[in-house]
């Protein structure tokens, strides 16, 4: 009797352990996705086929937001074009990203996913390496409705490098975000200031504004990536993208790179000059953006989403101007490089309907939908021939010309906490007046080396 009980207990324990292992390693099982295409595998880039079935698309913005409404309109039009398709929009932005990732881990990914699964980072992130993201090479070579060439040719040249991992295209852009200065045109005009072209112009403009009793810049001290943008741009201009990427990877010592000391010195000039709005250390980004639109500060370094995001809070008649981060004299880096992102959308290989997902991405890319996107949101299209929104003509032209397009925040938000800490904390300490520029550089340099082991 005792032996039987023991055997029974052992069997139960073994079953539990086996099911545990199966669950933990289940993501590696490589099951073939089920598709509901009735006309063959169009996701591979074959001839257009009738598509049916449910399609789940992730929206960065929640239900009730203008962008969700825009996507709802697109979904209705897509359904009318493909009567057998039923589109569901799922909120998956901000703090909800882990929920979407949990669904990927559980083998139940939405079909079309917003660009937060690291598919556009240099190594493609774990999802690409695990083979869970559908390659888009074949459909990208097909003609795209409304454009002269292929889908890939229709994408802005500056954006294309961010869509591939090891020469395979994994994501399709809907739009582009760029990081640049926004300025209060009325305050600039009142004080006789032109949009700065060089860093010296920027400091001179800041001095003029400060003397007039206006805070030159507003920034949030509670969200480090936004503080980091100032250093990123100065490092891009003085050092260059390649050197900075190598330093973050721990391959070279940051402090020894040509231009690093100059970039740190320039950042110290900004942070020690009293140019930032009082209280910036304790405000969050919404408050910082509000203070810009309330006229409390004349400039804000921010993403191109600023206008769309704050549209409800912008006072009537408020005139916004934009300019790219200024160049630096004698800098050995990229003087016309830009930071930004692509909002790359990826298709889940294990999704329910990859064919419909690819068709959706092509539909979103069509010229009339891209034009509507620009007009409704003030965002920048990722496609050629689409008119840029007002104020973003220059940056769009730079992307048309294939300027260096660096990932926002140097892509460090997906790296280890040690790297993030080594990179961001010295910048915050400099902004908070706790260290000087040289100390910031040496701390960052040592920290990155240490984090790389």
């Amino acid at each position: 009797m005792k032996t039987r009980s023991l055997l029974r207990a052992t069997a139960v324990a073994t079953a539990v352990m086996l099911s545990l292992s199966a669950c933990i390693t289940g993501s590696d099982s490589g099951d073939e996705p089920e598709t509901e295409s009735t006309g063959g595998g169009d996701a591979s880039g074959g001839a257009a086929a009738e598509i049916t079935g449910p399609l789940e698309v992730v929206s960065f913005y929640p239900e009730g937001s203008p962008d969700f409404d825009r996507l709802s309109g697109l979904a209705e039009e897509f359904e009318s074009r493909h009567p057998g398709v039923d589109v569901t929009l799922t909120f998956g932005g901000g703090q909800d990203v882990p929920q979407i990732e949990a669904r990927w881990r559980a083998g139940d990914p939405p079909d079309v996913n917003y660009g937060f699964l690291d598919a556009s980072v240099p190594d493609g992130g774990p999802w690409v390496s695990a083979g869970q993201v559908l390659p888009l090479d074949d459909p990208m070579q097909q003609p795209l409705e409304g454009y002269d060439g292929s889908w890939e040719d229709a994408i802005l040249p500056g954006v294309r490098p961010l869509l591939s991992v090891d020469d395979t295209i994994y994501s399709a852009p809907e739009s582009v975000t760029t990081l640049q200065f926004f300025y209060n045109a009325a305050l600039f005009a009142e004080n006789g200031i032109e949009a700065p072209q060089t860093f010296e112009d920027l400091v001179a403009a800041a001095d003029t504004l400060k003397a007039a009793g206006v805070a030159p810049f507003t920034v949030t001290g509670t969200f480090l990536p936004y503080l980091q943008m100032y250093w990123d741009y100065l490092a891009l201009r003085h050092i260059g993208l390649e050197g900075l990427q190598q330093a973050i990877a721990g391959e070279v010592e940051l402090a020894s790179l040509p231009g690093a000391a100059e970039a740190a010195a320039d950042l110290e000039r900004l942070t020690s000059g009293g140019y930032f709005l009082d209280g910036f250390r304790g405000v969050d980004f919404t408050s910082a953006q509000m203070s810009f639109f309330q006229g409390d500060a004349a400039m804000i370094l921010m993403g191109s989403w600023l206008i769309g995001e704050m549209s409800a809070a912008i006072p009537e008649g408020f005139e916004v101007g934009t300019f790219a981060f200024p160049t630096v004299d004698g800098g050995s880096g990229d003087q016309d490089g830009l930071f930004g992102g692509t909002n790359g959308q990826i298709v889940a290989k294990d999704g329910e309907n990859p064919d419909a997902a690819v068709a959706w991405l092509q539909f979103v890319a069509e010229p009339e939908n891209q034009t509507a996107y620009v007009q409704n949101t003030g965002g920048i299209s990722a496609y050629t021939g689409i008119a840029a929104p007002e104020g973003f003509e220059d940056v769009t032209a730079m992307l048309e010309d294939g300027a260096a397009f660096a990932p926002s925040y140097m892509g460090i938000l997906a790296l280890s906490q040690e790297v993030q800490n080594a990179y961001q904390q010295p910048i915050a300490q400099l902004f908070f007046g706790e260290i000087d520029g040289a100390t910031m550089l040496s701390q960052m340099s040592d920290g990155l080396q240490s984090a790389a082991g």
Partner: protein
């Protein structure tokens, strides 16, 4: 002495219990034991959350001993827990005892309890905007009464004040519940004991200090342990109000664990942190149970 064998009826009764317990046991195993066992397993692997985990042995735990970021989060977590206890317990006891004796006590209790109905995120954002240096009500009031120098202090932007603000927000949100526990405990104290002390000339404070509180000790002790567990696990208010800043001054174990797992995709390492946190809570709970044990007062 050999234990006597249960009779047939008793054995049948015990067997009868099993089917009734089974659904609860299955649910417990599925939602409690399984994740816990999995966490222990994952802590021994290197896992990015997507690809198959690689066996890493004790590497994650070794790394923890060398991780200066982790060690600083331990300090911050302890500061949060101690500071929170210092604010919460006197406050909850005070409100619990005083509102019991006031004419409109129930109304005040309702008002103090009301914030519990708010979600943590809402409460955190409310506090964040209250103390915003540009648009916050606190700063506006300070300026209005001429305290400009105080108004210019960025309460969430300075390492010296940010933790205090997070503690205050957490306590404000939850103090109503703790007050109710203390009020219920105070109500159980026989009125004749308090009357006797009053007749002997004890002040209200002395009645509380020497009569009521000793009789509430068991409740206080349990609540202390509960707070300790809550404090060590603190996460939501900090992630919403400061995200661990400024300069990592409010980075606690919970927020660090979250970032390691969901921002850096190091699930094995995050699981190791969770295991250490679990062990710390277990040890501290047992320790505090032992240290705070007193002979209970009978009444």
């Amino acid at each position: 002495m050999p234990r006597s064998r249960p009779n047939l009826l008793e054995r049948q009764r015990r067997r009868l219990v099993v089917p009734f317990l089974l659904p609860a046991l299955v649910l417990y195993a599925l939602f409690m034991l399984y994740p816990a066992v999995t966490t222990f397993y994952v802590a021994l692997t290197k896992w990015d959350g997507v690809n198959a985990p690689e066996w890493a042995g004790a590497a994650n735990f070794t790394r923890l001993t060398e991780d200066s970021l982790f060690s600083s989060t331990i300090t911050h977590t302890i500061v949060f827990t101690v500071l929170g206890a210092l604010v919460l317990f006197p406050g909850a006891m005070f409100f619990g005892y005083v509102t019991q004796r006031m004419r409109l006590g129930r109304v005040y209790r309702f008002l103090i309890l009301a914030p519990v109905a708010l979600s943590v995120t809402t409460a955190a954002l409310l506090w964040k905007f209250l103390v915003d240096p540009n648009f916050g009500a606190v700063q506006s009031v300070l300026r209005a009464i001429g305290l400009d120098s105080l108004a210019s202090v960025e309460l969430l932007g300075r390492p010296s004040t940010a933790m205090l603000m997070v503690v205050l927000a957490t306590v404000w949100h939850g103090i109503g519940l703790w007050m109710m526990f203390f009020a219920a405990a105070a109500e159980r104290v026989p009125a004749e004991l308090k009357e006797a002390a009053t007749l002997d000339g004890a002040s209200s404070f002395q009645v509380f200090r020497h009569v009521v509180w000793p009789l509430m000790w068991e409740v206080t002790r349990t609540l202390l342990i509960l707070w300790m567990i809550q404090g060590l696990q603190t996460f939501a208010f900090i992630i919403a109000m400061t995200n661990g800043g400024p300069l990592r001054a409010t980075e606690v174990i919970g927020t660090y664990l979250y970032k390691v797992a969901f921002a850096s995709s190091e699930f094995g390492y995050a699981a190791a942190i969770a295991v250490v946190l679990f062990a710390a809570i277990l040890v501290l709970t047992l320790l505090s149970q032992r240290l705070t044990r007193r002979e209970s007062e009978q009444y």
